[in-house]
Amino acid sequence: MTLLDYGPDAILMQGLDGRNWRLKDYEARDGYQALKKILTQRMKPEEVIAEVKKSALRGRGGAGFPTGLKWSFMPRQFAGPKYVVCNSDEGEPGTCKDRDLLRYNPHAVIEGMLIAGYAMSASAGYHYIHGEIWEIYEQFEEALAEAHAAGYVGNHILGSEFSFEMYAHPGYGAYICGEETALLESLEGKKGMPRFKPPFPASYGLYGKPTTINNTETFAAVPWIMRHGADAFLALGKPNNGGTKLFSVTGHVKRPGNYEVRLGTPFARLLEMAGGVRGGRKLKGVIPGGSSMPVLPADIMMATDMDYDSIAKAGSMLGSGAVIVMDDSTCMVRALERLSYFYFEESCGQCTPCREGTGWLYRVVHRIENGFGRMEDLALLDDVSDNIAGRTICALGDAAALPVKSFIKHFRAEFVHHIEHRGCLVHKDVEPKWGRVDAPHEPHLANHMAEAA
């Protein structure tokens, strides 16, 4: 059986052939050894947290928050249940890494959640998996049943004092539930509307109990750290950016896919792994961390390394590690129009600046794209963006505003051309067809669209 190729430095995706996801296969790859070690050596929970802190593992879902530090926020002395939640509500355009992790290595996520549960003295874990990957949801439940039957999950795990239950919970088509407090609301059986923070989930989370939410890939990295030590993990990346990271490379590359590389790997190397820009075309722009992050022009990207701090220095964010590559045939106005539609569609409607503002952003970019733009629209887009960002309960507002500001900042000439010439700066002959389908809108959007006319 040929092994799946995630790159020479892969640790999370190493030794996987697409079929060896079951418990016995995972055990053959030293799976559950970290959990066994922790339980037989009776490691103190604080020691586990200290190790994760030292590894410089940072949240792989988007925010990049130090994982060990997050775990240390959970109250030690709390009488009552505490929860660990895994966030597999992967729906940030460009991001498709958790899907691969779950279908090829689900037990790594289960073991990571168990170790997290031990470190935070939690009693149960919920794994929120978005509904679009239903087959993987069912596969995870199968893996969980295997772990249960083998005594890794449940009461008195491997004969120890540690008991921990684990369940899978389905999402069903709401991007906002990737936001951790919206996810908690959804877990409680409500609309996924984010909660105001503080209180943070560590003090008031699921059912009002202390809760820690981490991304799938974050949990999957924990067993490796506990097996090989924090120093080894840290050494794979660079200071403050420990380990490897899965990057989903999409768009105009020869081989779109997931690649696991050491943090700090040059972007140029990652692009090369994905086969380079397809059709021998020229690189134009890259969104380095999922659709919510600012776009960067080719020259800046080609000089940037793929780690949290380097990308921040270059003016964007590593986010979820979704690298959207666009070549010189891409109309940046149309690209932004499609992204703005997404945020308009997915805004939960709770905060006025976001609910109304995302509609404004989409409608104005839409009219520029369709030749009805006015020069003052550029200032208007900037103004609307500024009135959304930082003025909403959750980060979806910022996520909608950041692309708009960065697209106009770096590709202003294209927007101006669209307005002045009612057409595209990119030559139509070379432009591949893509964008949003011009179809009748869903009923709930019909009124918004009438306003746009």
Partner: protein
């Protein structure tokens, strides 16, 4: 209202949560109900509300908030295609045109024989494998070239 088999599945979901937190199972309850009925009528929503001890309005809120619930009947096969930016850059729009031409319907429409409904979706988290198509929410098809789309439509059309 729901079959014994559906209720058995639902009981298994309810058992995942603390006894006083049955509401947490509403997402699953609606998925199970939709799988059986094809869509969520107000009678079904009211039944779920009674079963889980929730106000009906709280169930309506959930059903209307999450995009994959059908609040009206669809064709036998609901086809949802992601057209978001990464998928679009990798040929999803060609797939969209092909589907529309072959089925002779637009998005948010159903073929006259009631066989297919076409929907445009937002990110499914499978971007590198574009074009990506979901059949009745549960079955994902990736790398959907026109040839693969034809094969799939032929196969579903025969059923």
């Amino acid at each position: 209202m729901l079959s014994a088999e559906s209720l058995k599945k639902l009981e298994r979901e309810i058992a995942k949560y603390p006894p006083e937190r049955k509401q947490s199972a509403v997402m699953s309850a609606l998925i199970i109900a939709q799988d059986e009925k094809g869509w969520l009528s107000s009678e079904v929503l009211d039944f779920v509300a009674r079963y889980l001890g929730m106000p009906s309005v709280a169930v309506y809120e959930v059903a209307s908030f999450y995009a994959m619930y059908n609040l009206e009947p669809t064709g036998t096969y609901k086809l949802t295609l992601c057209t978001n930016l990464p998928c679009g850059l990798q040929g999803a729009l060609d797939a969209a045109d092909h589907l529309r031409q072959r089925l002779r319907i637009n998005f948010n429409e159903t073929t006259p024989d009631g066989h297919f409904t076409l929907k445009e979706g937002e990110c499914f988290g499978a971007c590198a494998m574009a074009p990506v198509l979901l059949v009745n929410n549960k079955k994902m098809h990736d790398y959907m070239s026109n040839e693969k789309l034809d094969r799939l439509l032929d196969e579903l059309g025969r059923q």
